[in-house]
Point group: C2
DNA sequence: CCCGTATATTACCCATGGGTAATAAAAAGT
DNA sequence: ACTTTTTATTACCCATGGGTAATATACGGG
């Protein structure tokens, strides 16, 4: 199948460009990386890149999209999966934390959407909103079904997302912690203060008679 | 006092440049802001800026330094102040969160140190290390003196710092929450899962018989 | 009132780097 | 083998923007 093999080779090269670009963008920052740098690391020359992408910012966007795709996937999986809101929240934290330890995950936090075209910025904003909504939904649902203590979903979602996004800034593969270890510690720790009852093996056993924190907006 | 008034005027102008630069850098991102943009907003021309600064990256550095100065101040104040480790941690979270809602605070997280000279990058790294060490110290001290549940100080410090730093990315003054409100919610929420006993009015009343979370590295 | 100093402006330099011909080399198709 | 289509290269364009030289203007001091 000549057509297919041709296409595959092309797509593989495209992906190779993206993998290299992500690395460089993360290492040095988008603006300090030139297309010559990217090409050089691939042992080709700059104009060759334009066979696969129309512009530098399109490369950036595709890098981002690769990471976002994964997030959308596990969000769908968790959302359609079982468990109460707290369980889903833990799953989400775990998966998101692990994603943050990867290159494509870190791109989601460390790239600046303002480097993209207006249209792509809209796409990015929409995606970020989707993630945020999911966190807030699980929190709100959890408060409703009693698995989570009363809290302001918006603010709590920000607190959790902040911890997780930060992973993309400090985590390095050669460190003392594996991605999974970090993720499970975060899943446990970030929900410790939220769980209403000592649920499952994760729970930190918050007293049932806890005075419910005065939640809601001030 | 001619000499003094002259100097004061100069310093005021310098600060005006920095205030304007910070705003623009935060609004549009360092690389998208030209020195012409900065000058224009001050109703002067680009070369006039060079009376006060030697280069664009020096402006960036001074912007950052303004924010860092404030952090160093309240860290010193809290460190020399009273209270056990948990109390100090809460104070630190509160102050740091409030700082993140300001322009100079947000600079600390949203500027990329790689835009600075190698020497200034060292200064920035040292400052970030100071902040990190302080968080870890309070956590470790708290575990030692019993006010905080066993936990890995390094990882927990990252989790807390992440939540706080993220404020610099989402907070906007015209929102529903005041800076102080956000800060106090974060101070409470981020220590809820850590406090060993229902201490003071903040405590979420964690049961004393809590199985101590298996802390330490995995 | 004049001089020296700081501060500002206009006009310019030029390295950088994204992007584009024009064209060569390599595959694919027949 | 010959043609056509991809893919890559060399050589170039040029807008951008940090930074500077020459010069004008305001200002405090004697």
């Amino acid at each position: 199948m000549p057509f297919e093999s041709r296409r595959r080779a092309r797509d593989e090269k495209r992906e190779a460009v993206l993998r290299t670009a992500v690395r460089l963008f993360l290492e040095q920052g988008y603006h300090r990386v030139t297309l010559n740098d990217v090409a050089e690391r691939l042992n080709i020359t700059k104009p060759a890149l334009y066979n696969y992408f129309r512009s530098k910012d399109e490369i950036l966007f595709e890098c981002w999209a690769l990471g976002q795709e994964i997030v959308d996937e596990f969000i769908a999986e968790i959302d359609n999966g079982g468990g109460n809101a707290l369980t889903k929240l833990r799953k989400l934290i775990q998966a998101y934390a692990e994603q943050m330890t990867t290159d494509s995950g870190a791109s989601l936090v460390r790239f600046d959407a303002r480097d993209l075209t207006a249209e792509n910025q809209k796409i990015v904003r929409a995606a970020k909103k989707r993630i945020d909504r999911t966190f807030r939904k699980y929190l709100a649902d959890g408060v409703a079904d009693g698995s989570i203590k009363p809290c302001d979903p918006k603010l709590t979602a920000f607190a959790i997302a902040g911890s997780l996004n930060w992973i993309g800034h400090w985590y390095q593969r050669d460190g003392a912690w594996s991605a999974e270890a970090v993720a499970s510690r975060f899943a446990a720790q970030l929900t410790e203060g939220l769980a209403k009852a000592p649920a499952s093996k994760h729970g930190p056993a918050t007293s049932k008679k806890s005075r419910p924190a005065k939640g809601g907006r001030k």
